[in-house]
């Protein structure tokens, strides 16, 4: 067996409240841009997270990465941080950064990337709803 690269995936999910709001804009402008998502009383989603790790298959273990370890990493670093939280009020990451799906995906990538071997590629896909999802980084 050579050094064929394989992509492995782990799914996780968290439920959170958020609001899309730019502090420097007035209420009317926020409402024009973000519509219902600007509701000052928040709304929420069931976020579905797919973490993709790509790399060579270890000749001894047969793994790209131990998926049990990856699951524990996602639970400790992402799910405990965001599950049943208000992203705007309860998390340091979104005190000033607007919690769109795009930015949440980037933040999740930035949290996980330093925990993974440099030989492994990481990509994050985040579903905000069944019909709205984002990927970072782009292929």
């Amino acid at each position: 067996m050579g050094q064929e690269k394989v992509a492995v995936f782990r799914k996780a999910h968290f439920n959170a409240a958020h609001r899309l709001h730019v502090m420097d804009w007035d209420e009317q402008h926020n409402n024009e841009v973000f519509g219902k998502c600007n509701n000052p009383h928040f709304h929420g989603h069931n976020y579905e997270l797919v973490v993709k790790v790509t790399g060579p298959v270890d000749p001894v273990t047969g793994f790209v990465v131990d998926l049990k370890w990856l699951n524990e990493l996602i639970q400790q670093e992402i799910i405990q941080r965001f599950d049943h939280k208000n992203l705007n009020l309860d998390t340091l990451e979104f005190k000033t950064l607007i919690p769109t799906a795009e930015n949440i995906a980037i933040v999740i990538y930035q949290i996980l990337r330093p925990k993974l071997d440099l030989a492994l590629d990481l990509q994050v896909r985040l579903y905000e709803t069944d019909r709205n999802f984002v990927e970072f980084p782009v292929a």
């Binding site: 409240a17 928040f42 929420g44 939280k85 309860d90």
Partner: protein, 142 residues
């Protein structure tokens, strides 16, 4: 013609996203956290709710419809989705005032909003409400 000669069930699926918390204002915060855990977070959390509204009756012999499903969609949207979508269920929804915002109570409240507005021969059969892809409740009006 006897009632429900050829009974069929018709379902419309709608969805809404909302914030809520499970919190009984008559209890201490400690007791709320003991009973509701993460769901008691005072700053709310949220869900993508999926709502299945099922009606039953005989198809009309002329149209072949139990009811026009677009009309059913309009009733669900006007009476329920508009009030719930992108809202805070505890604070902003008149028909949930004073109720615990559990999925059970939400399904029963949705039934009350829809049932009176269906056409004469059509009966509401079931409200099935998913709070997450893994958690749902069903209410049959019993």
């Amino acid at each position: 013609m006897s009632k429900f000669l050829e009974m069929v069930y018709l379902t419309r699926l709608e969805h809404f996203n909302a914030a809520h918390k499970l919190y009984n204002p008559n209890w201490t915060q400690q007791h709320n956290e003991a009973v509701f855990g993460l769901c008691a977070n005072e700053n709310w959390h949220g869900h993508n709710f999926e709502l299945f509204v099922t009606v039953k009756g005989d198809p009309d012999p002329d149209t072949g419809f139990l009811m026009d499903v677009k009309a059913l969609s309009r009733i669900v949207n006007d009476r329920v989705i508009e009030a719930l979508d992108h809202k805070n269920l505890n604070i902003e929804v008149p028909f949930l005032q004073g109720k615990m915002c559990t999925t059970e109570n939400l399904a029963m409240a949705i039934w009350e909003q829809i049932a009176p507005h269906l056409p004469g021969k059509v009966q509401l059969h079931c409200i099935k409400l998913y709070e997450t892809p893994r958690i749902y409740v069903e209410y049959f009006g019993d």
